[in-house]
Symmetry: C2
Subunit: 450 residues, 2 copies
């Protein structure tokens, strides 16, 4: 049986009543965390540009846009997907290297709202979408990740799976949806060299492409039956070391969404290990940056590939500079969204300390990746002392988890741009999602100001 068919059977057979209560609760936190980032990002320039384009193109009013108003489900998936991937605080699944929320949730939300489905349907679709894209990401990582933005490429399958579930597609139709998803999968890392806005285009387009794939499949529009394992399929074309067994091991018996990590710092996840360590150290010891002679950060190769940048020129590039993030976290004792400002980008103390941060590949840490996204940090002080610190799990990983209260707090910080009473209502509705029948009530602009 093809891999697509096995995934399709899983998607079709998944029922809300079979999802354990802790998984339901965790999925609601994933949706809350999606909105944290989507609301924080909605007024930023790349998102405004996409919003303007969506408005020019137009579309039937099917689904709420994060910036207000409604448009087609394709447009809603595009805009709401892009919006959640800009402040660099959206969730991450380590072993597949996927930010699933920013692709799966906007696609599922748009279609569920359009079809007047309820909170339980949305939760079920999100669980299915995460499961599918995490498995595909695990199968092709890490080699796929060198060129490809897994969130976009593998995310397309997750979007299609979630939408297939919501549209009630048959197994055969779901296979076609996965085929059409895989053959649209795109998103090259090259943009990172320029800090270009492709970062937001990728998840938006992945969400939109998954919606298109499943809407077409509903009409029996056919796709490749072996889009993953076929000789000219996704695995062979886009990965050097794929492991097809990851698609099916334990499928139907586990809930991979529970492996999802949440981000507390507002930068690339590959910088969090060091930020956790140095901000904790700085807080505990009330460390003066001037007392630091050198900081050595040893981590895994992929982190170096993505975040070795000695001289970021924009806030955005700063979030992808391990040197800058490490210095910032040590000086400001925090990595929250409001520390990544233009002022702090050019802060003399941070800039000076940044020159003293050396990053390198630590073979032991690298060998444990991607199961563990760790770092060894040595802080050499001017008094001759050296403090050694290490972590295997940045904060927010399942092994070092954050509480619902912390995620609620994060939501309230990230949704500062909207009316507070509306933000509170959004959070309340999400945390009681299984009782919500009108899913437009997850969008702040659809609520009255109290």
């Amino acid at each position: 049986m093809s891999l697509s068919k096995q995934l399709a059977e899983y998607v079709v057979s998944l029922k809300y009543d079979d999802i354990p209560e802790d998984v339901v609760e965790f999925t609601k936190l994933c949706i809350l965390d999606y909105f944290s980032s989507a609301i924080a990002g909605k007024d930023m320039p790349p998102i405004q540009k996409i919003e303007e384009m969506v408005e020019v193109l137009g579309g039937n009013e099917q689904a709420s846009l994060i910036n207000g108003g409604k448009s087609s489900v394709a447009n809603a998936a595009l805009l709401n997907g892009a919006s959640s991937h800009i402040v660099e605080q959206d969730d991450i699944h380590k072993s597949s290297i996927i930010h699933a929320a920013t692709v799966v949730i906007p696609a599922a939300l748009a279609v569920a709202e359009w079809k007047k489905l309820d909170g339980k349907d949305l939760i079920t679709a999100v669980v299915a979408g995460y499961e599918v894209c995490f498995r595909i990401g695990e199968a092709v990582s890490p080699s796929h990740y060198y060129y490809w933005h897994n969130t976009a490429t593998c995310g397309t399958f997750g979007s299609a799976a979630a939408v297939a579930k919501l549209l009630g597609l048959s197994v055969e139709q779901t296979v076609h949806a996965l085929g059409s998803a895989g053959t649209q999968a795109a998103g090259l890392w090259e943009f990172i060299e320029d800090g270009a806005m492709s970062k937001q285009l990728h998840p938006g387009k992945a969400a939109m492409n998954g919606v298109i794939a499943s809407m077409l499949a509903e009409k029996d529009f056919t796709g490749a039956s072996k889009i993953m394992e076929g000789r000219r399929g996704f695995f062979e074309a886009m990965s050097d070391d794929y492991d097809a067994a990851k698609i099916t091991e334990g499928l139907g018996h586990e809930f991979k969404i529970m492996e999802n990590s949440f981000k507390i710092h507002a930068s690339c996840r590959h910088t969090h290990h060091a930020m956790d360590l140095v901000s904790d150290l700085a807080k505990q010891q009330d460390l003066d940056p001037d007392a630091v002679d050198k900081v050595e950060v040893g981590t895994y190769q992929v982190a170096i590939n993505i975040t070795d940048d000695e001289d970021p020129q924009t806030i955005y590039q700063g979030k992808f500079s391990l040197q800058y993030c490490t210095a910032l976290a040590l000086v400001k004792q925090s990595g929250s969204l409001d520390t990544f400002t233009e002022e702090n980008l050019w802060d003399g103390t941070v800039r000076e300390l940044m020159q003293k941060v050396e990053v390198y590949v630590d073979d032991e840490v690298d060998a444990a990746y991607p199961e563990k996204w760790g770092a060894n940090v040595k802080v050499h002080l001017t008094n001759g002392e050296t403090v050694e610190l290490s972590t295997e799990y940045p904060k927010g990983d399942p092994e070092n988890n954050v509480s619902p209260d912390e995620l609620y707090e994060k939501f309230m910080v990230l949704s500062k741009g909207i009316d507070e009473s509306r933000a509170e209502e959004v959070a309340e509705n999400i945390m009681t999602l299984e009782d919500i029948s009108d899913l437009s009530m997850l969008f702040p602009h659809n609520m009255a100001v109290k």
Copy 2:
């Protein structure tokens, strides 16, 4: 200077008045030939399914749909792109292995109509779009083509370039447009194993994605500046043997659109060499299929990869079976659209002869590919005679070209499904395109029935 910037400078500087008259005339034939295939395909199931989805999604009425009515430029590019790539008679550029019409022309048409531009603008944009995608296809072929559908992947750049020209983007904006195009480039050959409808989704999405790329670039939405040659860019990720020099050699001094080939037979281009040879032979000698003992077809490796199929089950699969196409052309002495019928798919004589067709890689022919798409054919007769035939250029190649009259005849055959007077008017308007100011008048449904 980056490759994108060099292409962008070419696109921005190209002027209608600098295009020689023979190139203008040829470009109009490309547009006529686009409409041949688009009209012939418009009512077929995959296109109807996309049309239904486009209608459900909705969009502002900016550009004509090939099936009637208007929708957004993104939707028009999607539908009108898909429609022209189903009867397997759209144009092909050998050395880039791209069917450019089905991607570049619908995108350019949609945006030109929307912006109320004229025929000269459209011609200029099409010339630019062909130039860009042909060069990119040449740079990555043939290795890229094993996994990737060049028409879709490289075509996305061509769509973006044509639209960038029409929107009057700056050099910098055009670089961003190419970046956003390349990072959306997708389309795996895996669908061919199932004869799936992805074949039509690919060019439609490529056209649409190029439109999105340039619309966003107009708003200064940024993309990778070195999307082609960057270390995590299109070349490195999606090709084993790219030649970056192809992008710039002779750029601005030649018109690659003149290298375009037209298809007379309604099947995959990789079957045409043998079809030309055996149909001519059968006509000349009034050959009885029963008199044939064996047919050996020696051709290039890529033709074998794509078209070695001993037992096609659908008309569509038949168009991708070298064995079937060779037998059909010998028996019916033609390969036109009306020979690819369900009746002929199961025709006893064709099926019997097909068993006698042996296909193999001819090393000499293979070495000349992709500059020459040739074949050596040996027809062994039951009387012991053997007829040897060979060609380097299937009919419709620049080296073995068809006349404007033949392309007009093809257009009239392929547009049989619409009112004849409308078809004639479409053709007349296209052949006087430099004088046309209302581009909606290229669409049959916008004309009165005479």
